[in-house]
Amino acid sequence: MDAAELIAGVGNGDRRALARAITHVEADTETGRAVLAGLYPRTGQARTVGVTGSAGVGKSTLVGGLARAQRERGRSVGIVAVDPSSPFSHGAILGDRIRMQDLTSDSGVFMRSMASRGNLGGLAETASGVVDVMDAAGYDVVIVETVGAGQDEVEVATATQTTVLVTMPAGGDEVQSLKAGLMEVAQVMVVNKADLAGADTAATQLRALLAIAGERPWKPPILKAVARAGEGVEELVEAIDDHQAHLRGSEHAEEARRDLARAQVISLARAALHREALDAARRAGLLEELVEEVAARRRDPRSAAAALLRGVKDGWARERD
């Protein structure tokens, strides 16, 4: 299937075309880029939701529950589940389908597993492309699930309109560590496994951290859930809907759309710049040359980085002339 066929297929509800289009976007192929360009005008209809949190807090189970609750409301659901790749082999075991088996037989659900390093662009860039494809395919709600383990994963969650941070009662350290970045980007917080001791303490700690973060137009609600038993899922759907209504209805709607667009353009441009600059420096042998000088302590890393950038810019200027 070429780009035009894939674009037509995605528009016609052809699931095989959708699956293949996602593969191209993930691999960042020519076809993938053409598909995204062709589909983009049709996006913007879906409610996009990111679900993040540490490993083992019950994200997959919660996402499964969330998808079922959305289906009960008559909304179709696309799911992108990101799992980490092995740092050694770059392979991955993607097991999120296990907790969502029943959803596989539901034609109103399309689920795709993604390895965090199985893509040539950045993870956040790739995931937002996959979200766009599902959006264009007409899914009412698109959920991205990711392990909130590193900066890449945090960025994935921010590529969606509503970010849900999932945590569990595990003592203060867990909540403390969330301060680094995640707190600021979450619009809904869930203390999952709330049947365990310490759930109220965890919620109180989140509340205190939010208070430190100061006044913002949207005040993130803090919910308690037992995803395994389906408790708290309805409340989560309502909180997400509230935030979506806030985004669409308030005077901040335009601003929020622009913020998201800005973040996406910056993040894609940064990834492209990074890739192209380093490729150019590598090709010219400049990178290795500077690395040698730094390793031998003849030059400090900062001035080496500046020299690298100068070299790359000079190279680009020569290409232009």
Binding site: T23, S86, G95, T104, S105, R112, G118, L120, R275
Partner: protein, 136 residues
Amino acid sequence: MTDEQAIRVLIAKPGLDGHDRGAKVVARALRDAGMEVIYTGIRQTPEMIAEAALQEDVQVVGLSILSGAHLELFPRVVSALDERGVDDVLLFCGGIIPEADIATVQEMGFTGVFGPGTNTEAIIEFVRDHAASPAA
């Protein structure tokens, strides 16, 4: 960038037996060989397996079966894949397939048949040699 896209493999257990040790060993071996393995768990219907293969756009589907229902379930998996237009995946199977059934299973399209005691290297080699390239 010169990175190659990883081969995507679906590992599933059709039918009612709940022993997934073998499936997990194979999943891990393929992961360690640099592949992306979608593991769907036990008690999968042929429709669930085919639908997962479609959505995940895998190049390879591996089935593990110990219950003895392979002659009944495997053709249903193949036709569920066909119904969805997924006609270009490499199929292999493992578990308990009696010697007498191997030729039949291979005729259905399961070109790789790996019984108990198979070295995982043999499975990795089979997949590498026969899988189509992703996003081709």
